[in-house]
Symmetry: D3
Subunit: 159 residues, 6 copies
Amino acid sequence: MRRAIYPGSFDPVTNGHLDVIERARKLFDEVIVAVAQNDQKRPLFSLEERLDFLREVTGGIEGVMIAPMRGLLVDFAVKQNARAIVRGLRAVSDFEFEFQMALMNRKLESEVETMFLMPKEDYTYLSSRIVKEIARLGGDVHEFVPPCVVESFRKKLKL
Amino acid sequence: MRRAIYPGSFDPVTNGHLDVIERARKLFDEVIVAVAQNDQKRPLFSLEERLDFLREVTGGIEGVMIAPMRGLLVDFAVKQNARAIVRGLRAVSDFEFEFQMALMNRKLESEVETMFLMPKEDYTYLSSRIVKEIARLGGDVHEFVPPCVVESFRKKLKL
Amino acid sequence: MRRAIYPGSFDPVTNGHLDVIERARKLFDEVIVAVAQNDQKRPLFSLEERLDFLREVTGGIEGVMIAPMRGLLVDFAVKQNARAIVRGLRAVSDFEFEFQMALMNRKLESEVETMFLMPKEDYTYLSSRIVKEIARLGGDVHEFVPPCVVESFRKKLKL
Amino acid sequence: MRRAIYPGSFDPVTNGHLDVIERARKLFDEVIVAVAQNDQKRPLFSLEERLDFLREVTGGIEGVMIAPMRGLLVDFAVKQNARAIVRGLRAVSDFEFEFQMALMNRKLESEVETMFLMPKEDYTYLSSRIVKEIARLGGDVHEFVPPCVVESFRKKLKL
Amino acid sequence: MRRAIYPGSFDPVTNGHLDVIERARKLFDEVIVAVAQNDQKRPLFSLEERLDFLREVTGGIEGVMIAPMRGLLVDFAVKQNARAIVRGLRAVSDFEFEFQMALMNRKLESEVETMFLMPKEDYTYLSSRIVKEIARLGGDVHEFVPPCVVESFRKKLKL
Amino acid sequence: MRRAIYPGSFDPVTNGHLDVIERARKLFDEVIVAVAQNDQKRPLFSLEERLDFLREVTGGIEGVMIAPMRGLLVDFAVKQNARAIVRGLRAVSDFEFEFQMALMNRKLESEVETMFLMPKEDYTYLSSRIVKEIARLGGDVHEFVPPCVVESFRKKLKL
């Protein structure tokens, strides 16, 4: 059985993330979506909220699991017996940072391979950061994130 | 009559911004310079100061107006009856971020087109951020920003 | 009246080019599509064929004209009394080359401004070169180019 | 059983290509190395030579097959019942071209996913083109390509 | 005698920095490693700690000096009678920022030239930021930084 | 004595090349401008013409020598007892190619260091290729190349 890790902050999950999860699932028997705690970055949504969003929106996809992640990504991957880390690539700036992280992770643990997938081109413009900014400015984000996230934005930002 | 919006933080306005305003003015009957409040980014200059700098330095250019902007850029553009958003491009990293914003804005409001202009090559190195850093370190910024901004830096940073 | 030039080889015109023409037309009263002869690059389609494709596909758009171009782009723009050159930007590599050309053109003729527009994100992958390669390998290109070009490919490549 | 295609010109195969083949093999049960004929690019080595090099150097790896490829890559992938196309990424310029090709291939055939792997960082500088240039200038290439290719360069370039 | 400045935050010094120092030393008679105070960025290590790390690890290299730097880099270079600023380049994003800084520094002081060196490709993935993140997550950083830094991380992060 | 090599095709030398030569000369006692024969690229100007242009325009600069180069750059550098290869960087696409070449050269000969300098920002748009294209289209190139090259273009292109 082949298992991959799809790591991220998912603050919050977007439709672009879901697209990558589904593509990864076609290539691996199991995909573990690993949610980094990231306290330093002061996420808008708590770890529990971010895990709940992901559990709700991936509920219908067999072979997809959601898990919180503490510590180093490669340690998590080894513990989960995963042979691949999956990352989505949208743009050149993504590419550079992802490349650097992938090389570092390979240095830390050579048995885990990082692979990159392209989200649908409709999602090129999409990131958690940009979605949060639009929501803060009162824009409508229902095309960009799942309904449960739209609802949560409404409460959180008192819109 | 054709009207364009030139949005930004302008914290503070630089000679590169002025160059883009003048280029945009040649292509449109009216250019509205829209100053984003951006409280989250903790600007060095207050919204009122930033508006004043722009009013002073564009005072002599017919067809250029200065306005504060709250909320989404595309909503502002529609309200102002503008058909274009103008952005300056200096470097690849600009390009990627600007592209992402432009695609997102098109998604939010398809009737407003984003267009990109190149500032004079002498201003390739210029940004509000770099000017603020030089001023903080005691450097002379009078070649990079209008006189009223130089004066304000002096007071603000107690140089 | 504001007039812009949209220059290129158009060997052949793609749906991405048409998208840029329509966007440019919304910002200017007239758009002149200028087809460079480019004998050095050995185009697949003759200048006359390339002009014919463009005339056919832009036939219904008021204010769009098609013209062959010899010599320097900026000389052509000045002769046509155009104040802007329009270029489509899709990717970072586009950006660098276009930037270099635009700076050079500004040096040669400071009165003509180059502006960049973004084609629809569905056309990010699209270029005349890639369409020709797919057609040569027997692939179906009807989603990427207008019907008259599909027909011409069929005859030219004896498919 | 999961099968991937690793396509290229392999004119000639380098140690960087071999590194990607081995990484891909860890993620898939079978990897088909598909050698494009590419007559237009006038390869230095004939299709038969390029296939022979690959057969020799991958001889010991179970689950790796070598095959010539004519026509469109996605048609080949579908015929071979492969669910993934594997590509190596070394640099930003790679990234842009590969991205464009991958989006186009997805448009032509949505069931085949393109994924990107990173070769060992020691191979960042390595490409078939650069190896050919060094060999032509009389440089020693034995660190960059397998022994059978070194030998063939010697004969071909009469060194 | 030719003297160069190698400026940075060095929070903390990595093996990649050391590699650049040694390369610079081969090209210049003296290399002054200038440590920026950078209070705004809230460094993990104090200026005194960062200077101590550098003094310890460059102790054996003749012609290398360590110095704290306040104020503008070009003013420091002029005061030190240095004719060159040395910077390491690893990636495209480095390149853009470094280019912008170098152009600005040239504007501020035309007599000081910025030159770029490439660290060993093994250090492409390496940055002070990424090392700090790994250390915070409990990873082993002894391959990336000198022993004195490993020791200090241990105390600082109470690992 | 410190000696550097500045290699290129110089087909033909531009004002941007001259700018880099002068900057390199400030950092090294001697700069050897090495002109690659490059028969494969079918240069517009013969090797002898390219050498003559360079000899004429650098005639007044002490410590600058012009030499033809056959074979590998690093072999030439070692034979000339040079410890550095100097390259000009203008843009991201330059950067990637130059980086790859520099890493390869380091692999071939670790004792020769490649360093990068920035030409004046006015020359960002300038390349031998673009100058040739403008001259072919009948444009005036006297701002971009030395007078002897302008004259030679006139004869060569029968303008």
